[in-house]
Each structure stands twice: as structure tokens, then as C-alpha cells.
């Protein structure tokens, strides 16, 4: 086999190697945060964007000036005004409010999907990499099939089967994201398996569960965290694409993707801002996750830099 090139290389950093040196006087947590801000301004900017979106998502009912599903048809397709800073859509609904509520849907699906995919990937990747042999061979063939699917096909069919909705979209995206992470986890675990400290734990009589929990998982957790952050961006992007094609969370829920979808295009010709704000929101959110992921990788996992 060819060694996996250019993808994430397994990291073999001992458990406490990456830790910031503690100085007396300042709590370690605060210190590392301030260091992060100073050394990674773009990452910090990404983090600010993410915090902003999380805030909007959690407090949508307080931040949104209007309801997302009630509009006044007399006000339809208005340009930006003081009352409606982003304008209104074809049903007279306030676009700003809809974009804010859209954050809640994107964030919920994004975090849910990544949680599912990470969980599945860790179980699959660790068992495949740790045990090796025929378990690995069998599991990897399943992962092969999983990866060889055109993503969108699987998404569209699964959503159609489960019925469109918040939870089915989350579940389906989680299933879709899992195999890629599983591959990375597997190769990291394989590198870990032969480390002297794992061997010595085995000699000392530690069982499989204990070795995985105390020696393998802590050492790949940085790689998993970095990957999960980047995948949040991928999940948000995939969710909006799915909504755009009409397979996302159904109306009247305001998803960013469906606000841009085909049926609205006729109205966009009359009021172009309809096509701008939701797209800008998607891009900003994905940009934030990518920036944060990049910076986290540099800090937590220097060997993966730039990969």
C-alpha cells in the first residue's frame, strides 16, 4: 500500500507535551487564551465570528426584531430601511430576523452532525486501528463503500426516506461526515499502537479498554478536536446546500440555504438583497470555523501545520 500522503499524519505527542508553561500570578487558562489572541489574530477573529453566531443562535428570540414566519404583505420586497435593515422578502417577512433564526438551525445541525460523526468515527476508527487484522480489513471495506458514494446522492435519498426535518438532516450529515474522520482516527491509532508507553502499559497488564481510554484517546484528542472544528464548517456548508436543493429543514423554518433557493430567484431580480444576506451569513460562519480550526491546529498539533 502507498503511505497516505499529504493527509493528516498521526501525531505522537506525549500527553502533556503541548501544555503552556505555568507562570505564577496568572491562571493558566486565561494566560493561554491571551496568548492565543496575540499569536493567532485570524484564529481569534474566527472565534469571535463563531461566538457571535452561537450567541445569535441561542438568543434568536431576543435578538430578532420580528417573528420569522409572520409577514405583512403590504411591506413585501422592501429595500433596506430603518425598520427592516436587511429588507423584507416576498411575503413581507423581515430578512434580518430570518437570518438570525437561520443561525439557530445552522448551528444546531452543524454541532449535532459533527457530534454524531465524531462519535461514530472514534468508535469505528479506534476499533479498526487498534485491533487491526481482519477487523480492520472488514471495517475498511465498509468505509470504502461509504466514501465512494457521491455525497449528495446519499444525502438526498436518506433525507427523502427519513422525511425532511431538523433531526433527519442532522443525522444524515453526521453519517456522511463520519468516514473521513474515521480514516484519520484509524491512522493516528495505528501510529499510537506501537508507541513504547502503550507497549509498557500492555506489559503491565492493562486491558484493551484501559489502554484505549488512558493512553490512546488522550493522545489523539487534539487531532480529533481540530478535525471537528473544520468539519463544523463543512457541515454548515452541506446543510445549506441541502436546503438550497429543497431537501433541508422544510418551511416555514428559515434556513439560509432555502432563502437562496430557486423559487426565490424571480424575486431576487426585483430585490437583489434577498440573494446577498443569507449567503453572506453562510460564508461568514464557514469562514469563522475554518479560521478557528486552522489556528487550533497550529497551537494543538504543530505537526499538522498547513496540511
Amino acid at each position: 500500500m502507498i503511505a497516505p500522503p499529504a493527509t493528516l499524519q498521526p501525531v505522537a505527542v506525549p500527553r502533556h507535551a503541548g501544555e503552556v508553561q505555568r507562570h505564577p500570578g496568572a491562571p493558566a487558562g486565561l494566560r493561554s487564551v491571551s496568548q492565543f489572541l496575540r499569536k493567532k489574530p485570524m484564529g481569534a477573529f474566527g472565534a469571535v465570528l463563531i461566538v457571535l453566531f452561537l450567541g445569535l443562535a441561542v438568543g434568536a428570540q431576543w435578538f430578532a426584531p420580528y417573528a420569522y414566519d409572520v409577514g405583512n404583505t403590504a411591506d413585501r420586497l422592501q429595500g433596506p430601511t430603518l425598520a427592516h435593515p436587511f429588507g423584507t422578502d416576498a411575503n413581507g417577512r423581515d430578512l434580518l430576523s430570518r437570518v438570525i433564526w437561520g443561525a439557530r438551525i445552522s448551528v444546531t445541525i452543524g454541532f449535532g452532525a459533527v457530534a454524531i460523526s465524531t462519535l461514530v468515527a472514534v468508535v469505528v476508527g479506534v476499533s479498526s486501528g487498534y485491533f487491526g487484522g481482519w477487523v480492520d480489513l472488514l471495517v475498511q471495506r465498509v468505509v470504502d463503500v461509504w466514501i465512494s458514494f457521491p455525497a449528495l446522492v446519499l444525502l438526498v435519498s436518506l433525507v427523502a426516506i427519513l422525511g425532511p426535518g431538523l433531526w433527519s438532516t442532522t443525522l444524515v450529515l453526521g453519517i456522511l461526515l463520519a468516514p473521513g474522520t474515521a480514516r484519520v482516527v484509524r491512522s493516528a491509532v495505528i501510529a499510537m499502537r506501537e508507541q513504547p508507553y502503550v507497549e509498557s502499559a500492555r506489559c503491565a497488564g492493562a486491558g484493551h479498554v484501559r489502554i484505549v481510554r488512558s493512553y490512546v484517546l488522550p493522545n489523539i484528542s487534539a487531532a480529533i478536536l481540530v478535525l471537528a472544528t473544520t468539519q463544523l464548517g463543512v457541515a454548515v456548508l452541506a446543510e445549506s446546500t441541502l436546503s438550497f436543493l429543497g431537501y433541508g429543514v422544510p418551511p416555514p423554518f428559515p434556513t439560509w440555504g432555502s432563502m437562496l433557493s430557486g423559487t426565490g430567484r424571480a424575486f431576487m431580480l426585483q430585490s437583489p438583497w434577498l440573494s446577498i444576506w443569507p449567503g453572506l451569513a453562510i460564508s461568514a460562519a464557514v469562514f469563522g470555523f475554518n479560521m478557528l480550526g486552522d489556528a487550533l491546529r497550529d497551537v494543538l498539533d504543530p505537526r499538522l501545520r498547513g496540511r
Binding site: 500500500m1 502507498i2 503511505a3 500522503p5 499529504a6 471495506r141 465498509v142 470504502d144 463503500v145 466514501i147 465512494s148 458514494f149 457521491p150 455525497a151 449528495l152 446522492v153 446519499l154 438526498v156 435519498s157 436518506l158 427523502a160 426516506i161 422525511g163 464548517g233 456548508l237 445549506s240 446546500t241 438550497f244 436543493l245 440555504g257 437562496l260 430557486g262 430567484r265 431576487m268 431580480l269 437583489p272 440573494s275 446577498i276 443569507p278 449567503g279 453562510i282 460564508s283 461568514a284 464557514v286 469562514f287 475554518n290 479560521m291 486552522d294 501545520r305 498547513g306 496540511r307
Partner: protein, 315 residues
């Protein structure tokens, strides 16, 4: 080498078989089956429905249907579309060139943009050009293709009353007109792919440029462009090639979206239509083709990798 190739080809079979089984079962789980959809307008009796079901072979157990389908596939036949009653092979043959053209142009654009910008960014590390290129790369990763497509279809028509040409002309009929239609979605698709690739080319270049043989090449008086392109880029591009191969799966999803926005009669749009109409043979055929393309590109990329980099050993 030949042993490796045979092993890889043998491993293709279970993968494709797995994909085909999953698709076969998935389409039959879709709510609202093909027969119900075909008869929804006509006032059909239960007997008509049963007759149609038997005619399409849908009254038999799923595993019998699958074995039958597999047998026809092995004879090079993908069955007949439920909608048009034409052979699926023919339906796909009509649409494949459209999607292949779109995808290939997009790949070429992605490779060209990513290499040029990535190399400049690496050679001029930590200058404004580098910062601009890196920000652009991250920006490109964040902008969804369907948004860019929607903007291109919408905004110019609002501002300048210009819309991109939306009536498709085949490449064989009028190459110039065909290219003018395909090039816009291809650029959007290509730019979307180029972001990640650009970052990879840059880091690989930075790594290679620090190697001893680069210093030697520079020391023996070679011109800078010769060092950068003939010595460094040749080595830096190999990992990028692998990633480009992996991007083919992303490309397939991209064509589905852009073909629907730009009304191109390709396989991506056909897929969405087929799912909507529950046209089982068409969906199965499309998935088999897509999966084969993805699996074969990965194989070709792996082989190319060893050919470009003789240090890689096949085992």
C-alpha cells in the same frame, strides 16, 4: 507492481457491489414508490396498478430484483428508465458529455489557479502577496458554490440586464457557444475546489524549497524560475495530485448543484429529477457510474503517484 494493480482491481469489485446494494435498497425505501407516482394523475384501478407493478418487475422480492438487475448490468445493460422507457445507458450517454465537460474544465481551472497562486504565495512567503493569496484561499473555501451561482445568475441581470446564456447547445453543434455557456459554472466549480488545493501547494512548496537539492540547484547558477518550476514544483505537486483525485467526489456533488442553477442537461440534474420521479433504474445506473468514476480516479491517482515519485513502493 502488477500484483499491486491486480489486488487493487480485485478490491474494486466488493466496493462497487456494496455501493450498488446500498443504492438498490435505498431507492426502494423512498416514500411514494414509482408506481404510485406514475399513476397519480390517471384514475387507475387496483388491477392497473398491479399490472404496472408486474410490468416493471416490482412485484417480486427485493433480492430477486437485485440479482436480476445485477445480471443485466454484467451484460452491459442498465435497464430501462421508468419515465422515458428508453435504455438507461442511452439516457446517460446523452448526459455524460455535459457533466464530463463541466467537471474537466473545473478541474483544469482548479489546478491552474491553485498551482499559480500557491507557488507565488510560497516563493513570496510573508509578503502582502502571500497574505492576499492565503486569505483568498480561505475565502474560497467558505463561499458556497450555489450562492456564487445564484449571484451570477441574479445580480448582472439586475445591474446590466445581462443574464448568462441558459439555453444549452451541444459541444458538437457549436463549440464556441457551448464553451461560453459551460465556462461560467465551470469557473465557479473550479474556484471552489482551488481553495484547499492552493493551501496544499503552498505548504508543500515551502517544505520543498528548504531542501538541500534546491540550494544546490540555486548554487550552480540556475535561473530562479527554473529552480522553482523544474525542481521545486515538480516535487511539491505530487501530494496535490492525490488531493485533486479525492476532490472528484466533491466535484460530483458540485455538478448536481451547478447544473440545476445553470439549467445544463447533465447527469447531476438528471439525478435530482430521477430521485423526484422515483425512477429506480436511472438512480441505480447514475450511482454506479458516479461510484465507478470516483473509485477509478482514486486508483489512477495512486498509480500516478508511484510513477511520479519512484520512492513510493507498492506492496
Amino acid at each position: 507492481m502488477s500484483r499491486y494493480l491486480i489486488r487493487r482491481l480485485v478490491l474494486l469489485a466488493p466496493t462497487l457491489l456494496g455501493v450498488s446494494i446500498v443504492v438498490f435498497v435505498l431507492v426502494r425505501l423512498l416514500p411514494g414508490d414509482a408506481v404510485a407516482l406514475q399513476l397519480q394523475d390517471a384514475r387507475a384501478s387496483a388491477a392497473d396498478e398491479a399490472a404496472l407493478r408486474a410490468g416493471l418487475g416490482l412485484d417480486r422480492p427485493v433480492y430477486v430484483q437485485y440479482v436480476d438487475w445485477l445480471a443485466t448490468v454484467l451484460r452491459g445493460d442498465l435497464g430501462h428508465s421508468f419515465r422515458s422507457h428508453q435504455p438507461v445507458v442511452q439516457e446517460l450517454a446523452n448526459r455524460l458529455p455535459v457533466t464530463a465537460e463541466l467537471g474537466l474544465i473545473a478541474l483544469v481551472i482548479a489546478a491552474l489557479v491553485a498551482t499559480t497562486v500557491g507557488v507565488i504565495s510560497a516563493v513570496k512567503q510573508d509578503t502582502w502577496a502571500d497574505y492576499a493569496a492565503r486569505s483568498a484561499a480561505i475565502g474560497l473555501l467558505a463561499v458556497p458554490g450555489f450562492w456564487l451561482g445564484t449571484l451570477v445568475v441574479t445580480l448582472p441581470s439586475v445591474w446590466w440586464h445581462w443574464t448568462p446564456p441558459l439555453r444549452y447547445v451541444r459541444l458538437t453543434e457549436d463549440p464556441a457557444r457551448n464553451l461560453s455557456i459551460v465556462v461560467i459554472p465551470a469557473v465557479i466549480l473550479g474556484l471552489g475546489l482551488s481553495g484547499g488545493l492552493m493551501r496544499l501547494v503552498r505548504t508543500q512548496m515551502l517544505e520543498v524549497l528548504r531542501q538541500d537539492f534546491i540550494r544546490t540547484a540555486a548554487a550552480k547558477g540556475l535561473a530562479e524560475h527554473s529552480v522553482v518550476i523544474r525542481h521545486a514544483l515538480k516535487n511539491a505537486f505530487i501530494p496535490a495530485l492525490t488531493v485533486l483525485g479525492l476532490q472528484v467526489a466533491v466535484l460530483v456533488s458540485g455538478t448536481v448543484v451547478l447544473e440545476s442553477i445553470f439549467v445544463l442537461p447533465g447527469m447531476g440534474r438528471y439525478l435530482l429529477e430521477s430521485v423526484q420521479a422515483r425512477d429506480y433504474p436511472a438512480i441505480q445506473g447514475l450511482n454506479l457510474i458516479f461510484a465507478t468514476v470516483i473509485v477509478l480516479t482514486n486508483l489512477v491517482v495512486d498509480l500516478l503517484y508511484g510513477w511520479l515519485d519512484p520512492r513510493v513502493r507498492y506492496a
